[in-house]
Symmetry: C2
Subunit: 297 residues, 2 copies
């Protein structure tokens, strides 16, 4: 299948490579020359620009940093024309970026008017999951479009959830990541409180993991250095999911909550905690480093 | 073994009954006559008062509402003498109440001076676990005392964790319950945000359960009515663990945090959310009803 892949960063790069390895005819593009060069080394055909990239493609996949990039790519702005008018008739657009649900719906509406199918399919699983092809996709869109996308998504991920109509993938992702931000900070507080009382963080973590405090952070991603060898906490908080990325997702959750008048008191506080953590210079560290805020410096 | 059991409420009652059923010689007492009558119906011998109850007992178990009750029982106050001087030489005291760790240590110190062994062994698992004998005990105290207590605790519970020295059981319990309060409120926010965006709460819950938002609430105790048949949410928030009990535990966590100068921003906010929920008249409902605060009335 002829696939155009736009956005070759830490996530998009390995995702495009997995599609190439699976035998698809992948053409790729990124504004960053080094990102393109890396993919070219892997044997992926690099296009001269985004417009050239999508010519004749049956499927267009995008993996971009934020709402404005996705909107500019497909709908255009005062500096560039949008891609949608250039896509082949009946093409399927899969946007894997984590952006505002409203932007997904806006692009989907324009795509539909042109007879194109669109799904939003943001991912979780990090760069490790992107490389291993074990990402989780949270998909918004109609069932027919999802079924067209499924064989392609399966080359990049291990779990595919159908969250609802267009935009629902984004909503599921920000709900999940808001909860993740809360439970990582909450787990950090609980462990730090125990340690301040003289408890062994390993013993306390194990007790809570097997009790009603059990959660993904205690299971896979303990924020306290030394408790879990494989966690970023035990590697100086390198790799993993950066504080600034968590801050971005918590910001999207708050924007969304404001738009629908939802009450998210812990989500709002969590965003401010990660913002303060980023201001303190830890934006590049894994988000589990939030426990530093609860420890003596 | 001759056991004195003091405090026969919703938790202590069934715990004492399980020890009686296991063949121990249980003498029991509670200030509430109906609580005593209920145990008497189960065949448990009821003592005239706490002092009579503990006479000659090898093990004394207490399950009381709060720190001041435990302190008054063992150390006495201006209205009553403490029990410790009346205990048989070498007796083991097991306090299962959820109280301040500092109170546990205070009672343990006096017990030690009298040659008595003491452990704090607060529980989780609720009234269902107390009746079924499947409680989780979080134990603080030395290993020798815990090993003496173990065969007795095993008659009332399924999991026994050794958290550390005296008081550590209390600390582990409040750390766990603070985290539980945070993750239940956080899970409620995330589900409510998704629903406000048109997502199906069952679909969203399942996506988050299997993703990095996964936690005990999504696994066993979903706060949204109709998602999980067996959860209190699907039974009008009856039964389960009351909002006022969660509020008490979150208050203990904040007292402790203040004493050791720990930072617990989400724990502090969670306490205030449950306090507001209680003020709104929901103190008697299961604590997962906190989701009402995030829903249209």
């Amino acid at each position: 299948m002829k696939i155009a892949f736009i956005g070759l960063g830490n996530m998009g790069g390995p995702m495009a490579l997995n599609l190439h390895k699976a035998g698809h005819d992948v053409g790729a593009f990124d504004l960053s020359k080094p990102a393109c060069d890396k993919l070219a080394e892997g044997g992926v055909r690099i296009a001269a620009d985004a417009g050239t990239c999508v010519l004749g493609a049956e499927v267009v996949i995008s993996m971009l940093p934020a709402s404005q990039h996705v909107e500019a790519l497909y709908l255009g702005n005062d500096k560039q024309p949008g891609l949608l008018p250039q896509l082949a008739e009946g093409a399927l657009v899969i946007d894997c970026s984590t952006i505002a649900a409203a932007t997904s719906r806006k692009v989907a509406d324009t795509a539909k008017a042109r007879g194109l199918a669109f799904i939003d399919a943001p991912v979780s699983g990090g760069t490790g999951g992107a490389i291993a092809g074990t990402l989780t996709f949270m998909v918004g869109g109609d069932t027919a479009a999802l079924e067209r996308a499924r064989p392609i998504l399966e080359k990049m991920g291990a779990n595919i959830f159908h969250a609802g109509s267009v935009g629902a993938g984004q909503t599921a992702k920000i709900c999940n990541n808001m909860l993740l931000g809360i439970l990582m900070a909450g787990t950090s507080e609980a462990i730090a409180l125990g340690v301040a009382n003289g408890l062994d963080p390993k013993v306390l973590s194990e007790i809570m993991r097997r009790s009603s405090g059990g959660n993904w952070a205690l299971e896979k991603y303990n924020p306290m250095p030394g408790v879990m060898e494989t966690a970023p906490a035990s590697k100086g908080y390198a790799g993993g999911f950066g504080t600034d990325l968590m801050l971005k997702d918590l910001g999207l959750a708050q924007e969304n909550a404001a738009a629908v008048k939802a009450a998210t008191p812990l989500g709002g506080l969590a965003r401010n905690l990660y913002a303060a953590h980023s201001l303190a210079g830890h934006g590049g560290l894994d988000f589990s480093s939030i426990i530093k805020m609860m420890q003596k410096g």
